[in-house]
């Protein structure tokens, strides 16, 4: 299995943000394996976690995500993130 990593984003919470982020991945044919998103700070911002395969394009993807106006911070968890461990319980 391909090595996976989790990208953690802090973003402005409005209806277009998800399409900006997903569009970046989609137009480079870079599959997003898992997504979780929750509002923080009373709803003005959101946290998004993206579970992706760590191929050679990942650094370029992270730079592109970081350029988005509505993305305020980008983090990376190479050893996974428990949000996806919990979600995995739902899909068995």
């Amino acid at each position: 299995m391909c090595k996976q990593t989790v990208i953690e984003l802090t973003v402005n919470n409005h209806p277009g943000v998800m399409s900006h982020i997903c569009g970046l991945f989609a137009r480079r044919a870079y599959n997003v394996e898992g997504i979780a998103c929750m509002p923080v700070n009373g709803g003005g911002r959101s946290m998004i976690w993206l579970l992706v395969n760590a191929d050679q394009r990942l650094d370029q993807m992270i730079k592109q995500v970081d350029k988005l106006e509505d993305v305020l911070a980008v983090g990376r968890h190479d050893s996974g993130h428990e949000v996806f461990d919990k979600m995995a319980e739902f899909v068995g």
């Binding site: 277009g16 569009g23 137009r27 370029q60 592109q64 350029k67």
Partner: protein, 557 residues
């Protein structure tokens, strides 16, 4: 104070210093136009929204300032997309403000409804769908800040009709949005780069549009002269240095001169500044500067290591980086390397066939340049005429050269030339175009006529899609298909029908004199130059090949 959304937009644009807006009204942006009618801002009514977008681009490319254009919802918005995508690829700061159906009707397939926000996501630097009137107070200044800060680019603001008519009571105007400072330079990055330059025996500066965007042409020239570094330019970088400067090697890449591509093959250090290693510039990447270490300087971190891994990268405004490097790099004369470059230039020069015949594809460019003088702005469409102008025109300063580089949009030239003339009314604008390209925005000849802009359109007509035909000639066994037009149109009559003076060099006994006469008249004109379809642009690197594998353009054959 209490104002409508439309009035707030117009007032904010005035406060940003906007003087001219191109566009077309329609149902969904009429409140905006009603507010514009009370403004000091001049409106340029175009015949197609793509024309409005390229007029904005022409203004922005000449001035370096963001330019604004308007379109209505639905077809108005979709018509703008090509001009916006073009601005994205060439990093041009334009702001497109579109009307949208009222908020409650969004998503109902209302009349003239299209998802402008969704359509513009991949072709803008940023975009907005404004959902309440109070958002305008930060969206408009933010749009200007985003368009010009860092790596410039286009911004779309989609404003539903009821947001335009909604009233807002507010206390104070926001500050206009402007360019924010680039990222701080890292001193170790810079000194590492300087050391590499000092150690290099055969360095080349590879300079692109980023140098022009950052207003740092002088710094690039100063660095080149201090360390005796020959310079190669991307299509977007032409004008950074006068073409007759001893260190200038002209354009590199697919239609670059032989000596330029051969020198790059030989260099041991490539100093890439404000460039993005576009495939038309590099050819096959492993074959591009195969013997060189690479320094890459750019304001956009995502360009670094994207195509070619750099041995040293400098993130930041290249104006700052070049200034910093200048004081760190040692003076050098590099006599042996400059001799080698000069020998390459002597043995493999740029061949300009029939340069002294004003009815030849290159000759018309050179003669028009002579007549227009150094101060002229030069605009092109896309195709053979564009590559010939890039190869042969004696550019002398930055922002003199306007061309669609990244997207390669046929139809760019004439409306962009109108925009250039509006932004610089006291300069002559040359617009080199072809019969294929001009037809893609011919309607805005009417706009050129109405505003009496000083645009001299020089149309080389081979009744064909020349570069397509050239590829069929070279790579598809001369099977010319769908690249020759079956019948001819009369461009002289077309121009005259639009109320524009036209001259046909093909019917003249003294074409040189006719050209001079045409260019001496005020206002717009069209100069028609019939040429053969069988005149390829050489040299040419086949798509996918290394830049050393050039076809044609050889001396002594």
């Amino acid at each position: 104070m209490k104002l409508s959304g439309a009035e707030i937009i117009i007032k904010l644009l005035e406060r940003q210093g906007v003087e001219t807006i191109a566009g077309i009204p329609g149902g969904a942006n009429l409140p905006l136009y009603d507010a514009l009618s009370h403004s000091s801002i001049r409106h340029i009514l175009t015949r197609h929204e793509q024309g409005a977008g390229f007029i904005a681009q022409g203004m922005a490319r000449v001035s370096g300032q963001p330019a604004v254009f308007f379109a209505t919802s639905g077809p108005g918005a979709t018509n703008t997309l090509t001009a916006i995508a073009d601005a994205k690829l060439d990093s041009i700061p334009i702001i497109c403000i579109t009307g949208q159906v009222p908020l409650a009707m969004i998503g109902t397939d209302a009349f003239q409804e299209v998802d402008t926000y969704g359509l513009s996501v991949p072709i803008t630097k940023h975009n907005y769908l404004v959902r309440s009137v109070d958002e305008l107070l930060h969206v408009i200044p933010d749009a200007f800040r985003i368009a010009v800060s860092g790596r410039p680019g286009p911004v779309v603001i989609d404003v539903p009709k009821d947001v335009q008519t909604a009233m807002l009571d507010f206390e104070a105007w926001p500050e206009p949005g402007g360019r924010t400072a680039g990222p701080e330079l890292m001193a170790p990055e810079l000194s590492h780069a300087a050391r590499m330059i000092d150690e290099a025996e055969r360095p080349i500066l590879y300079l692109g549009g980023g140098v022009i965007q950052s207003g740092s042409s002088e710094q690039a020239l100063a660095l080149a002269e201090r360390a005796s570094i020959p310079c190669a330019f991307t299509l977007m970088g032409l004008g950074i240095m006068p073409m007759d400067h001893p260190l200038c090697m002209g354009m590199l890449g697919m239609h670059g001169a032989r000596h330029t591509n051969l020198a790059l093959e030989r260099c041991d250090l490539l100093i890439a500044v404000g460039v993005r290693f576009d495939d038309r510039a590099t050819g096959k990447v492993p074959g591009f500067c195969p013997n060189a270490r690479v320094i890459h300087m750019d304001i956009d971190p995502s360009e670094l290591d994207k195509i070619k891994n750099a041995h040293a990268s400098v993130t930041g405004d290249v104006a700052d980086s070049l200034k910093g490097l200048f004081s760190l790099v040692e003076r050098a004369d590099r006599g042996a390397w400059l001799d080698e470059v000069a020998a390459l230039k002597r043995d493999h020069p740029m061949i300009i066939p029939n340069g002294d015949d004003p009815c030849s594809p290159y000759g018309i460019i050179l003669r028009a340049a002579e007549l227009a003088g150094e101060d002229a702005i030069v605009c092109t469409d896309v195709g053979q005429h564009q590559m010939r102008t890039a190869q042969a025109y004696p550019f002398s300063h930055p922002r003199q050269w306007l061309t669609s580089g990244g997207l390669g949009t046929m139809g760019f030239g004439m409306p962009a030339a109108i925009g250039a003339a509006l932004a610089a009314p006291d300069r002559m604008v040359l617009c080199f175009t072809g019969d294929g390209s001009i037809m893609m925005n011919i309607q805005d000849l009417a706009t050129a006529m109405e505003h009496d802009v000083n645009v001299k359109i020089i149309l080389t007509n081979n009744n064909a899609l020349g570069l397509v035909r050239q590829q069929q000639d070279l790579f598809y066994g001369k099977r010319y298909f769908a690249s020759d037009y079956a019948r001819r149109v009369d461009f002289v009559k077309i121009a005259e029908g639009f109320g524009i003076r036209a001259w046909d060099l093909g019917t003249s006994g003294d074409p040189g004199a006719m050209l001079a006469e045409a260019m001496a008249q005020p206002g717009p004109c069209l100069i028609h130059v019939p040429i053969s379809p069988d005149e390829p642009v050489y040299p040419m690197v086949p798509p996918g090949a290394a830049n050393s594998e050039m076809i044609g353009g050889e001396a002594n054959v």
